[in-house]
């Protein structure tokens, strides 16, 4: 049985690099959409306890936006894309061409957020698919804005069947002084992690 804790430095480097390529593609897509220069930092790959993840997002009760996808194909599992409230506002603000990024999210923004999640996750999956040669298909996104703890319970439960830890990829995008912190959870089903690593040439 595969365990997230068994990942070594080489594995993490490879996942970070995929994150980097994926986020790079995503930032380019976003920059094209809003006609602005977007800066990106090298993503961080972390293996964390569930409670630490909630802390990164400001505690279990802080409101966050989660966008969730089903992955089908040669590898099955899920992807979750998480944004804290301020990042959600900055991202939708950028997309809608607003001057002020403090506006509360309305129905249009929610829809925009789903689409951004779709673009970012799609970029990530397509780089993963190109690098591994595996066929990966992403479902339509499902958005939920609620308490961080409640949203995190979804990937936590999925990881919970095999491990007490989760694999998180944190990407930072920046437009001037406006920082967007995007968190990805890669949640492959039990044996899919192995297939992924094997096809990336870091496991046998």
């Amino acid at each position: 049985m595969f365990n997230v804790e068994d990942l070594n430095h080489l594995h993490l480097d490879v996942l970070r690099e995929i994150g980097n390529i994926g986020a790079g593609n995503a930032a380019t897509a976003l920059a094209l959409m809003i006609h602005k220069k977007i800066d990106m930092e090298v993503p961080m790959v972390k293996i964390l306890e569930f409670e630490e993840v909630a802390k990164i997002l400001g505690g279990e009760e802080s409101v966050v936006a989660g966008i969730y996808f089903d992955v089908q194909g040669d590898v099955t599992g899920n992807i979750m894309f998480l944004l804290d409230t301020s990042s959600s506002k900055v991202l939708t603000g950028m997309l809608m061409g607003r001057e002020d990024y403090s506006k509360e999210l309305d129905e249009m923004d929610r829809s925009a957020l789903q689409e951004i999640g779709n673009i970012l996750s799609g970029s990530y999956i397509s780089s993963l698919s190109t690098l591994t040669g595996l066929n990966l298909v992403l479902s339509v996104p499902s958005l939920c804005i609620d308490m961080a703890g409640a949203i995190l319970s979804v990937p936590a439960i999925q990881f919970g069947q095999v491990s007490d830890k989760v694999l998180l990829i944190e990407t930072k995008l920046q437009d001037g002084n406006n920082l967007v912190k995007a968190n990805f959870f890669l949640i492959p089903n039990a044996d899919s992690f192995r297939i992924l690593l094997k096809n990336l040439g870091v496991d046998n």
């Binding site: 049985m1 409670e51 089903d70 703890g149 919970g160």
Partner: protein, 161 residues
């Protein structure tokens, strides 16, 4: 000493009046509160999965409905409660994301609720109240002095069960 004791995810705690037990941001997980009105001993478990026997990685007993309720019961009896006086209240088990697909994991909230009720029934612990299902998160507080369970949400108000 702090009056409110926090119960984390896949965790459980037992205490007595006037203390309060709380668990934050229940999503698909279920919060199981047990209460003995005579000794005012309370217990709270934050379970993540329905059944420990179906999972290989089952070292953390507080993670599963069957083993968590069993331990909760033992710890409460250890503190001086009588099993016949115990009553239960549960909250959580939401489906946070909706998909058209037949992904079994999506129904985990519902399965957690069903499993929790079955375990309570097998121990003959009456279920007094529940606030389960839906598609929103819940923070709950259990009060040792009254046994009341407070459910807080974002956008769905506060209720007492």
């Amino acid at each position: 000493m702090e009056k409110t004791i926090k119960v984390g995810m896949a965790d459980l705690k037992v205490t007595k009046s006037p203390k309060v037990l709380t668990t934050l941001g229940l999503g698909s997980c279920v919060g199981v509160a047990l209460y003995d009105r005579e000794t005012k001993i309370i217990g709270l478990a934050h379970i993540m999965l329905p059944n420990s026997t179906q999972i290989k990685n089952n070292a953390n007993k507080a993670k599963f409905a069957d083993t968590a309720i069993d331990i909760l019961l033992k710890e409460m009896i250890g503190m001086g409660t009588n099993k016949s006086r115990l009553v239960a209240k549960i909250a959580g088990g939401a489906q946070m994301f909706s998909f058209g697909s037949n992904n079994d994991m999506m129904k985990i909230g519902y399965r957690n609720v069903v499993a929790t009720k079955e375990v309570l029934k097998s121990f003959n612990i009456p279920l007094l109240a529940e606030d389960t299902g839906g598609n929103h998160g819940r923070t709950i507080e259990v009060y040792g002095c009254t046994g009341k369970l407070l459910v807080k949400t974002i956008g769905y108000g506060v209720k007492e069960i």
